[in-house]
């Protein structure tokens, strides 16, 4: 079965033009392979600047990759013409971190929710408004709010408006970019619950971008961890939480307040490398780094179906599945050794 959305060797570099000096270019994403099946939720985690938003924008075709490709239902996004691209915005949607910035401050929220139907000429004005009113109910916005401007709503209500607008055209894939991180913790839980129930009833696939792993446990089927534009680890959410394979993932888990993991699992306060060159990008901060890590970029290794990792020293896996892990680790060590020989 072809996946709904697929990224292959996806790379993106931002160019900064400078006056009378050479331009700067910055690799925000470097060779990412990912795919999402219909209805599935993939969480993307990583610290600030790791390229999460860039990835989300490119999966939606908002921004063009500078390398690799993204395909939707098996078709390369770059092959869509302008009219088809417009049609595509019905299927691919996005919910932003800051709902206040995503809404027109002057316009009644019901008009904003109805707007996608008008843009795509899917309904007349009256019908669009009545469908918007239905959608408001679905996302838990009481009808009296319909004619208010966003200023008069709470943060959580605004995010519900943004979600409602994104869902109006019945999208098949929605990117939630830090959709709850600007909200109060109690409101976060409500919005997460809303997203979960909408996903169950609406059946859309989603990419859930966050830097907060706590949020992930509730919503994600799978988790992908990014560091400086590279995929560090990917796997089923339950496995990632129970047995992180990458020291970086474990460090992220250890950083969650109240985590049982030891302090030693956390990252050193080392300097963050900006340029991804030879060797592991994490080497200065990693608690288990060796001399090898500084010299050789670790390859991406498939541990099990749907479980991938980039590390020279993956963490041991707990007992029940030890055999498979050992095999994988053995294979990894072997492949590293052979690379060393050839180097």
């Amino acid at each position: 079965m072809t996946p709904l959305i697929r990224a292959e060797a996806l790379s993106h570099s931002y160019k900064t033009r400078r006056f009378l000096r050479p331009n700067l270019s910055h690799m925000a994403l470097d060779g990412i392979d990912l795919s999402l099946a219909a209805g599935e939720t993939l969480a993307v985690v990583g610290e600030s600047g790791s390229g999460k938003s860039t990835l989300g924008r490119m999966l939606l075709g908002i921004e063009r990759p500078t390398g690799g490709r993204v395909s939707y239902e098996g078709r390369d996004l770059s092959s869509f013409g302008p009219a088809e691209a417009l049609r595509l915005t019905q299927d691919l949607q996005m919910v932003f971190q800051n709902p206040s910035a995503a809404l027109d401050p002057r316009l009644a929220v019901i008009s904003q929710i109805a707007e996608p139907l008008l843009i795509h000429k899917l309904a007349g004005l009256a019908e669009a408004r009545s469908r918007a009113a239905e959608m408001m109910e679905r996302v838990g916005l009481p009808p009296p709010l319909a004619n208010r401007t966003p200023k008069l709503l709470s943060g959580g209500q605004r995010q519900r408006v943004v979600i409602a607008r994104a869902l109006m055209t019945g999208p098949r894939f929605v990117v939630f970019d830090e959709a709850v991180s600007a909200l109060d913790v109690s409101v976060q839980a409500q919005i997460l619950e809303l997203i979960r129930s909408l996903r169950r009833s609406g059946g859309f696939a989603s990419l859930f971008i966050t830097h907060d792993l706590r949020v992930v446990r509730h919503v994600a089927d799978r988790v992908a961890v990014l560091y400086l534009g590279r995929l560090v680890e990917e796997g089923p959410a339950r496995q990632i939480f129970a047995a992180p394979g990458h020291p970086y993932t474990r460090a992220l888990l250890a950083a969650i307040p109240g985590s049982p993991l030891p302090r030693a699992a956390r990252l050193h306060a080392g300097e963050i490398r900006r340029e991804v060159g030879l060797g592991c990008a994490l080497v200065s901060r990693c608690p288990v780094a060796s001399a090898l890590c500084a010299q050789l970029t670790p390859p991406l290794v498939r541990l099990a179906p749907g479980r991938r990792l980039t590390c020279h020293h993956p963490l041991p896996r707990p007992a029940p599945r030890a055999q498979g892990a050992e095999a994988a680790t053995a294979g990894l060590v072997h492949s590293v050794a052979s690379q060393e020989e050839s180097a």
């Binding site: 006056f19 009378l20 000096r21």
Partner: protein, 307 residues
């Protein structure tokens, strides 16, 4: 620093080039002045030879290249009115304008800066109100109204000063006063805001809390910071002075380049008009450039973001 200066210089050159090209195209767009300058009875051959003589029969691009080429050699063509080099015609009137504007600039700074500081320091007092009232009045009045008021007061009523001409120093008083006062009005308003702005910044509050005296705060913190914002609008004020000088020269019969511009535009003396526009632009751009660089030195933080 050199990159910053270089960027500014490039921008100044670009300004000159754009203005030169625009005026050139515009001046040539309405056709040539042959018919206007020759008598109606002129024969076709006369017209043709006149046009050939002045290069008016060439395509406009050729005329343009020709003109810029010559300009770089210091040749801005000849005045159609009297056959003298346009560069000479324009520059010989320049000192009069510079005399007017520089004196007015000094007057503007001497009045505007202290008045603005006074208004800010005595904010809300009757001093503030009076300064602001006068400043707002001056700011709202066109130069020619002010000048006519001053002429009526000093020349007609009091008979202290001559109303027009440029023969003596006394002739300078009214034009300089008009130009300088109008500038001072705008400047006082600006300086007042700038000083108030500085006084509300956290480091001033911190200095005050640490028990520093009022005078010390004023001289060490407020004024130096306000001076930086003065520098930022100085170039702009200078442009205003030159724009204003055109009207003032016309009112007072002051023989500067502003009045020359009006005369030559009326006669369609292209070469001189073109030269005058370049002259105005060059002077103002040079002032802006100096101010920009001074600002860059005073406030090194902007260099990184400037380009």
């Amino acid at each position: 620093m050199t990159g910053f200066v270089l960027g500014r210089v490039l921008r100044a050159v670009l300004t000159l080039l754009v203005v030169l090209s625009l005026t050139f195209v515009m001046l040539r767009m309405t056709g040539d002045p042959t018919r206007m300058l020759l008598p109606d009875t002129a024969s076709d051959e006369m017209v043709a030879s006149f046009r050939a003589h002045w290069g008016l029969d060439q395509p406009i691009l050729m005329q343009y290249l020709h003109y810029t080429g010559n300009l770089l050699k210091g040749d801005a063509g000849l005045s159609i009115a009297n056959g003298r080099p346009a560069l000479l015609v324009a520059t010989e009137r320049l000192p009069a304008t510079l005399k007017l504007t520089t004196t007015a600039l000094v007057l503007m700074l001497l009045i505007g800066v202290p008045a603005g500081i006074l208004a800010a320091l005595k904010r809300g007092s009757i001093w503030d109100r009076s300064v602001m009232l006068l400043a707002t009045l001056g700011f709202s009045l066109p130069g020619f109204v002010v000048s006519i008021g001053l002429v009526y007061l000093f020349a007609v009523w009091l008979r202290w000063l001559p109303s027009s001409g440029s023969a003596s120093l006394r002739h300078m008083v009214l034009p300089v006063l008009t130009l300088g006062l109008a500038g001072a009005a705008g400047l006082a308003r600006y300086i007042r805001v700038a000083v108030l702005d500085v006084m509300e910044r956290p480091f001033i509050l911190a200095a005050r809390a640490s028990g520093k005296g009022r005078a010390a705060i004023l001289w060490q913190h407020v004024l130096p910071n306000a001076a930086i914002s003065l520098v930022t609008i100085l170039g702009f004020m200078v442009a205003g002075l030159f724009g204003g000088s055109i009207i003032i020269e016309q009112v007072f019969g002051w023989p500067g380049i502003g009045r020359l511009l009006l005369e030559t535009v009326g006669m369609r003396d292209f070469a001189v008009v073109q030269m005058l526009v370049i002259l105005f632009t060059a002077i103002v751009t040079l002032c802006n450039l100096t101010v920009d660089i001074a600002y860059g030195i005073l406030n090194p933080r902007i260099q990184a973001t400037a380009c």
